[in-house]
Subunit: 538 residues, 2 copies
């Protein structure tokens, strides 16, 4: 039964765009996911899990990148030659689930789901082919209260994670306004689909290009700093003017710009993030006036019933949020918000971390979007034909994690490693195993202590090094001398390391043996607990 | 941007062998995984996550079913035409990870991992193509203490999950004993590979076929009750006798069989599960004598140095476990244990739930294996060439979940649904939203209460039905009358349902309005808390 085909060894390598996640990140991630779960649960959403892959036709193709309609997903065939695809988001599987189980579900149906999704896209720095999303959706209602609620959920999630008002903003716009604007400037009809798509993509890049760049791309072409030319949408100057005027309407602020709002003002101010080519300075707060934004917007598109409907919805969303205590500094009507996915039909939402972080070279880094969503009234009807309106919000967990890390909101545990029982004599491993077992299962019913006996075959020095690398708070030693006296020695590694910096001279160190003490074997658990307690509070 | 290609609707269906998991199971599963995590952590293992798929060559082919070497996994190609496969277990990705990161890892390297794995196998009742495993592995040590530790870990996990001693058993055997036996009866050499494979598969089916059936399959053929004939391994009668004698050695018990051991005896007794064709009765306990089993075994294979080495290892494992307080009723030396996977090289382990459950027709159901593992010294060397010994244990989470469910060890929460705020007047949704918000974020800093405003468009009756289906503990009502008085009405749905059984007559019910009371709006949170507290203790 042994193989002899091992001539050519495979290379141990991760697939392109994939990564391993190690202990510290897993623990911090778990805490973060736990917090998000608590907020989602508090809003009444129930958990759901769907499988990693679906039939390709059931999943549909709703990925933002229209240039590669046949790519973006990982697909394979089953034995019946039916195509399967790894899910690229959690919304398409939800639509399948709702269509399949519609009759027995409470309506509206409200679920949250978290898990990995996969995209067959070009990986890059911070861009992986497997990443985690955390979604909440309400299916089966037209009410904009459901959209407003998602804005509040997003804001509450940020706050629960320790991102303070001003360091994030939940932007909300309405697809109906953009669609209405399109009609209003005479770009309706399928013959204009492509020009409008280019225009939408240009607006989507506002953060990166600034208004000047977008203006150029709405027109004939944009020339960047290097002289490279990108072809634009080719809109007439008056069309360009009206689009820019619309997407500027939150910026042409009546509100004052100030250095730092007081605690009482803060939820009415929005911390303006840096934009390329933007003349507005850093770290300035703009007083938000959602009602003013909507007034300016309405003047631009009042000839379009669709746009006006969208503006009415936005006004109701903003009012509901304000009524519940969320100011415009938290939930901001932002007419320039596009969000790529084609399937949105009404309000769209984006959660953005606005703080300025700095990379290793001191260059400011924008976190940008850490989540988004909106209303998609057509996704379930793909299956059933019946119109089932729905709205959802999805957190990009890895992006949010990176932002929280930069914000210093990810507590890491000190002394999270196990207590290591050293093996002083290989004939006595049963005794050492027993010491570890006593720590794991204290007979007084106390909390288990993470502990292990050293399982390798190396000597004392390597064992100590091992304990260090495992992040052990202390080691337990029972050599021949200790055994005779019925004792164990406990060596506090964290305290020891601290002291080793303070004591000069190897000899003084050895003689003093600081941070090390002996106790009777029966007092092992108590003694280790006292060491752990020392480091818990730090 | 709107699609017009929706003529043919896709069918909303789950891929074959896949399932959706809903709220109640997700919550129970989370608690179960949390308990397992605590035990694994207490043993000093650290978490690791690897991606869902790996390069096919890095994953290798270690699936048990040798008949279909090219099947069993889901594979696809990336844009560079390299083959990728969804992981079929968590061990192969671990081997890749260790080989890739060997230099910087502490040695031994100890990690746990949980997550879904995928197998492209024929689905059946309770057999899915995606299922969850929970693994712990120690990589980089030859010490049998590491194997013994996994036996203890498995037993502690069972106990922590509420499976009592006697309702589970951790079986341990050694591949070296079986390999030594093979040599000893003259079946060494590649020309006997196929016969030995058939023999091993027969032994693997002992639980189902009984000793008689296995004996027949070791010989020329087995005829089952229906008269169907299965070809056997074709061993000589003396060879068959010796194999049977070996795999019987735990059963030819010196130990007495009794009805029910006392609490003090229990960890030394093993609750014999039912076996097809087995004359031993149900629910009888056999006193376990691991040392006796090993003595009998040694007599059979004493001419094989390899088998003797295996027996010595088993003796040390049994001694280490006993020394740490685990009796043979918990950790049982079982020479008939095979475990299919080809890559094991030493001790093999299996966790079995031995309780008798009964299906809906009153027929006893065996849960059998809920986890297993063993030593695999060749898996990392596939990549590096260097021998890196390793040992691991893996829980089949879904199987264990099913067993715990039958054992009644999965607590379900009463009143886990959200409090539903009814919408009495659509013009006042801002007010109702506010009531829900107050419950979610109590201003006194108390625990958030799960709450939602009804988001649909239906009337009172449908709203009450919705609250019922959501499992709401109570609803909050504020109609015109209540508003005038500055009050809200709270209706206890759980108490209400209980009372509705007791009160006869619709009229009496309506007039009495039991389980319903009004409070001042400012006392909303307190009042809802009092309702929740009522049901918490039940």
């Amino acid at each position: 039964m042994s193989g002899k085909k091992l001539d050519k060894k495979p290379e141990a390598r991760l697939p392109k765009g994939m990564r391993d996640v190690e202990a510290e990140e897993i623990r911090a991630m778990q805490r973060m996911l736990g917090t998000i779960r608590q907020v989602y649960e508090s809003y009444g959403f129930e958990p759901l899990d769907t499988p990693a892959f679906e039939y390709t036709d059931a999943l549909g193709k709703f990925l933002p990148d229209q240039d590669r309609p046949n790519e973006g997903v990982f697909s394979f065939q089953d034995e019946d030659e039916q195509w399967l695809s790894l899910r690229y988001d959690l919304t398409a599987p939800l639509a399948r689930y709702v269509a399949q189980n519609f009759d027995r579900l409470p309506k509206p149906f409200r679920r949250y789901q978290t898990g990995p999704v996969w995209r067959n896209e070009k990986p890059g720095p911070g861009r992986f082919r497997q990443f985690t999303q955390f979604d909440a959706d309400t299916v089966g209602t037209d009410s904009v209260a459901a959209d407003a609620e998602l804005c509040m959920l997003a804001a509450d999630t940020m706050e629960a994670l320790g991102v303070q008002t001003g360091d994030y903003v939940i932007k909300v716009n309405n697809r109906k306004v953009l669609d209405g604007l399109r009609e209003s400037i005479g770009l309706g009809g399928p013959e204009n689909d492509n020009r409008w798509l280019i225009a939408m993509r240009a607006i989507d890049k506002l953060d990166r290009l600034g208004f000047e760049g977008v203006e150029a791309l709405l027109g004939n072409e944009r020339r960047d700093e290097s002289g490279d030319v990108t072809k634009g949408a080719g809109l007439e100057p008056e069309q360009v003017r009206r689009v820019i005027s619309c997407i500027r309407s939150s910026k042409s602020a009546v509100g004052e710009t100030i250095g730092l709002p007081s605690q009482a003002q803060i939820h009415k101010y929005f911390k303006q993030p840096k934009m390329m080519g933007d003349s507005e300075p850093y770290d300035h707060w703009i007083q938000v006036d959602n009602a003013g934004t909507l007034d300016r917007l309405r003047k631009e598109v009042q000839d379009s019933p669709l746009a006006c409907e969208g503006i009415d919805e936005l006004a109701r969303i903003a009012a509901l949020c304000e009524n519940t205590g969320f100011g415009g500094g938290q939930i901001l009507v932002e007419p320039s918000l596009v969000r790529g996915l084609e399937y949105y039909t009404g309000p769209v939402i984006e959660a953005e971390v606005t703080l300025n972080a700095f990379n290793d070279d001191g260059v400011p880094v924008r976190f940008g979007s850490v989540g988004g969503g909106g209303r998609y009234d057509g996704l379930v009807s793909r299956f059933t034909g019946a119109r089932i309106p729905a709205t959802g919000f999805s957190i990009g967990v890895s992006r949010l994690y990176a932002a929280l890390q930069a914000l210093g909101q990810l507590k890491t545990e000190t002394a999270s490693g196990p207590v290591v029982v050293l093996v002083m004599d290989r004939d006595r491993i049963a005794d050492f195993q027993n010491l570890a077992n006593r720590l794991r299962k204290p007979t007084d019913g106390g909390k288990p202590i993470r502990a292990e006996m050293y399982l390798g075959t190396s000597g004392m020095k390597a064992q100590m090094k091992y304990a260090d690398r495992r992040g052990a708070p202390c080691v337990v030693i029972q050599g021949g001398d200790e055994l005779e006296r019925g004792e164990v020695t406990i060596k506090d590694l964290i305290e020891g390391e601290r002291l080793s910096g303070a004591i000069s001279g190897n000899q003084a160190w050895r003689e003093g043996r600081p941070a090390q003490f002996a106790v009777k074997e029966g007092e092992l658990v108590e003694a280790v607990r006292s060491v752990l307690a020392r480091h818990q509070t730090k």
